[in-house]
Subunit: 250 residues, 4 copies
Amino acid sequence: MDEFDIETVAEPTLTDPVLVEGLPGVGHVGKLAAEHLVEELDSELVRRVYSTHFPPQVSVDDGVSTLANAEVYAVSAGEERDLLVLTGDHQAQDGPGHYGLTDTFLDVAEDLGVERVFALGGVPTGELIEEYDVVGAATSTAERDDLTEAGVEFREDEPAGGIVGISGLLLGLGERRDVPAACLMGETSGYLVDPKSAQAVLEVLQDVLGFEVDFSSLEERAEEMEEVVRKIQEMEGGPAATDEDLRYIG
Amino acid sequence: MDEFDIETVAEPTLTDPVLVEGLPGVGHVGKLAAEHLVEELDSELVRRVYSTHFPPQVSVDDGVSTLANAEVYAVSAGEERDLLVLTGDHQAQDGPGHYGLTDTFLDVAEDLGVERVFALGGVPTGELIEEYDVVGAATSTAERDDLTEAGVEFREDEPAGGIVGISGLLLGLGERRDVPAACLMGETSGYLVDPKSAQAVLEVLQDVLGFEVDFSSLEERAEEMEEVVRKIQEMEGGPAATDEDLRYIG
Amino acid sequence: MDEFDIETVAEPTLTDPVLVEGLPGVGHVGKLAAEHLVEELDSELVRRVYSTHFPPQVSVDDGVSTLANAEVYAVSAGEERDLLVLTGDHQAQDGPGHYGLTDTFLDVAEDLGVERVFALGGVPTGELIEEYDVVGAATSTAERDDLTEAGVEFREDEPAGGIVGISGLLLGLGERRDVPAACLMGETSGYLVDPKSAQAVLEVLQDVLGFEVDFSSLEERAEEMEEVVRKIQEMEGGPAATDEDLRYIG
Amino acid sequence: MDEFDIETVAEPTLTDPVLVEGLPGVGHVGKLAAEHLVEELDSELVRRVYSTHFPPQVSVDDGVSTLANAEVYAVSAGEERDLLVLTGDHQAQDGPGHYGLTDTFLDVAEDLGVERVFALGGVPTGELIEEYDVVGAATSTAERDDLTEAGVEFREDEPAGGIVGISGLLLGLGERRDVPAACLMGETSGYLVDPKSAQAVLEVLQDVLGFEVDFSSLEERAEEMEEVVRKIQEMEGGPAATDEDLRYIG
């Protein structure tokens, strides 16, 4: 197998496509958001990307194995806009793998006509969230100003440690290819899988790209998570339970 | 030395060969099973595979050194079936090594006419086993249904973390080459070297491939292990001794 | 992206240029010193170096992202001397990356006419410093003797563990290319970001290369650090507070 | 710099040369022995080997830097025998580096006419040694029997974990090139730098290769080490002090 290997599953014709990435990360915000688009909208698997920098692993579903990979879907977001949604279960296992995979994803995107990239993810706040702000980063001030109008917050020193992994490199390597890219990061406690944060991120994306998606399934998952939190708080002695009790749930 | 290096020891003529892999892993189930086939049946060493991704190490037996390698044996499983048995003392030391070694093993297998692959291993249950079920995973539903008839269990969410290492990649990379592959995983506590689990796996393999092997030496090893467990339980205060006491034995 | 990638930002004409490196390290001495030169003197960004051996990361400033890189500035140190100042936020993430990046930096330097290299850094003493000595290492006895005249101390067994990272390799790989190189290491406690140590290193460099730079901004930062130390000592119970209290500040 | 880089310092004419390797390891036995040969006999530095798999580091001696490397000396062991002694301060930093460096060392040795290899090292016993046995491993039974006559002990299950690092690979890769190789391992506590163990190893080597070297400087170092042990035992309460007290000295 090659270090990075693109498998063509289908050859879609796309209208004004935009790449939307959601791989595993803080609160699984990006992955939840990307999977929600694939599930709720008309979508078709078009590419699989394999790599020796993914874990040496197959997943098993109902006894049938699948080699570690990332999936790229063509997703219809209305008559004038298609999305190319990138998701999967893995980040790369090492630094050169992150760079090489991101380059491969950008190759796939450019090959399918993509001229703009959105990386979705979460930014940990360390406390339970009341209002789900979406924090942004972009490859240029023009891109930044465009997103500010959609309610994205751009803050002087956030995210403090920069953006690590494939989301970050989509901006870094995107810029070097003159592909404008932005990262939309939903605030999230960092302790829980966070469907509400994913919804907040998708609402911004809807606004920026002009499409609509139904959120009822994400809202159901959010209610399930809240039920989990309530039960833990009761076990720990009611509403006095601290954030600390919630660490590592999900 | 090349990154992956195949040494031809003999050029066998094989009848309808099947690759059977058993490298070190949980309970040493796969390795015990593969070595049992090599020891009990007519077998001939045909290939050694060396790699810079194996540990930088020689083993020493009676003062004579052997470079870290994996061994491939031609094993007669009756007049109408030969096995190609892959075993050894090492897994790869890094992710790209796992991918490259598995590709190399599949090259060897295809070169010798193999059209089907069985990876043998153990699946840890965390408790002592009464009845040794064999859990399976396969590259296709056809392969899965064939094994279900032989008593292999295919469970919705097992193994939970997928299959890691060369066993997993034999399925993942096998499928990408259109070589049907299955993993047979004997349930095992995970605390002990488990000859009984190895026997359970081999009994399934016998059934599927139509051959017979004598199990008396594996049964002897199983009795030795049980004796060890009994002694520890006595030291710990009789049958009340918990699984915890057995952790890391073997 | 290539493993090591040089981006040409400007093509300067340099007079008798000397490479001055200051990347992150003990007490941030080298980085503080290099950045001070870029900020206080006439300077122009001339090269960026990207690498898959840098962290897979973008930094974000005011919402705009920048891919991990090292920057090379042309800095005027008077009419008869230009400096080529190398700085940035990252060391390489692995050994081969350190070697490859240092080779790349030396390629950039030689391409721009550099014939002498200074690596700036700190040497940890484990205690608060009264008088900031500068310890040196050089590729040759000639280079060493030249620096001894400028007050640099060369000690038999220091630094005890040698010099690790890009500073060390600028000497090691510089020597192999016949480019004379020296490392100037300001003594520093190792617990604090140390502007005074950076100033001590720059004073030596001024003396050796014959240029002048204003130190008032470094002196301000030094006073801020001293204020921090004083407050910690008060919290800990006055001047009796030990070095131990200061560990990991900065 | 290339991944592995041989620098030719001198072109010796050698008589029936044998490679003798002594790099850092258990009790520094191999390195002490190799350096003793270089210091006590007529010797000339003939090759330096650099590698991106060595630590990214220079050592500093009296202010002058030296890039991490391994050194190969031509050493006269009498009129009819020359030794090629390989020593240095570093092992490789990763597995592929160990394989690549060992191949490079064997290239150097074969290029200079070497037809037999001795790797020197220590084998840890976990307790203070009274009589310094030398344990062996070899690429063939012929080589093994030859060394048995010189008093080397070959034991069924020793060393238990095989031989790791460049010493081990000199046997493993030597055998694959048809260069007979043996490893001579002096028993040593594993807690101390052990000049006595180095002497025991060299006495075997003298016997096998027919040369003589003066041991007075090694004996002096051994006495110094014994003095250190005595002082620690006194501090700890006399001769009752256990092996445990000596762990990690040296």
